[in-house]
Symmetry: C2
Subunit: 112 residues, 2 copies
């Protein structure tokens, strides 16, 4: 799934670019500063983000500033958010469940 936003965001530099673009549109040169990687590498990462629809680039010659697009980030937010209540409510219960299992294992004296 090439244009999966989760996949596009699975590289720390690409998340860094998103963080950078959250401050406003930037050219490749702008986006490159501070990452310690080459412009072509940043260009490649921008292409991945663009393919996933996270970034939109102006078609102007040369500079082609990149800007964040909200759609897929919203999708990711909504997907994760759907489970927010669930995991917050269940965390205590799961902890209990797992520690009960671990207790059981200990009592049965099983070892790896």
């Amino acid at each position: 799934v090439v244009n999966d936003p989760f996949k596009a965001l699975s590289h720390p530099i690409r998340r860094g670019i998103v963080e950078r673009l959250a401050a406003g549109p930037a050219t490749v040169g702008d986006a490159t500063r501070g990452f310690g990687v080459s412009k072509p590498a940043i260009s490649k990462h921008l292409k991945v983000l663009e393919r996933a629809g996270l970034v939109s680039r102006a078609k102007e010659a040369q500079s082609r500033p990149a800007a964040l697009t909200a759609g897929p980030l919203k999708e990711v937010d909504e997907w994760v958010g759907r489970y927010r209540v669930v995991w917050e409510q269940r965390l205590d219960r799961l902890d209990k469940y797992l520690s009960e299992l671990h207790e059981k294992e200990k009592r049965h004296g099983r070892k790896g």
Copy 2:
């Protein structure tokens, strides 16, 4: 970055497993039902989720029920959430910015 939660969540079946586990702990057999893939495939996906810390598995023999762990999902939620306000506020502004650029291009008569 093997244990990147974004990477772990970049496969639709793994997101499906997370959705399934949000309803409660499940064995591989439970988790397999409804996906139309084999148990070994589900096991592999569970391992990826486990490595990313999204899933915790009991060490009991055979069934080893898997349960959702909140940590990395919370991280993803927090990361995306950090930009929620930004992207919601900027969406209009970016739209304007991009349409202005497109207008400029049209006026300049540039073509791919």
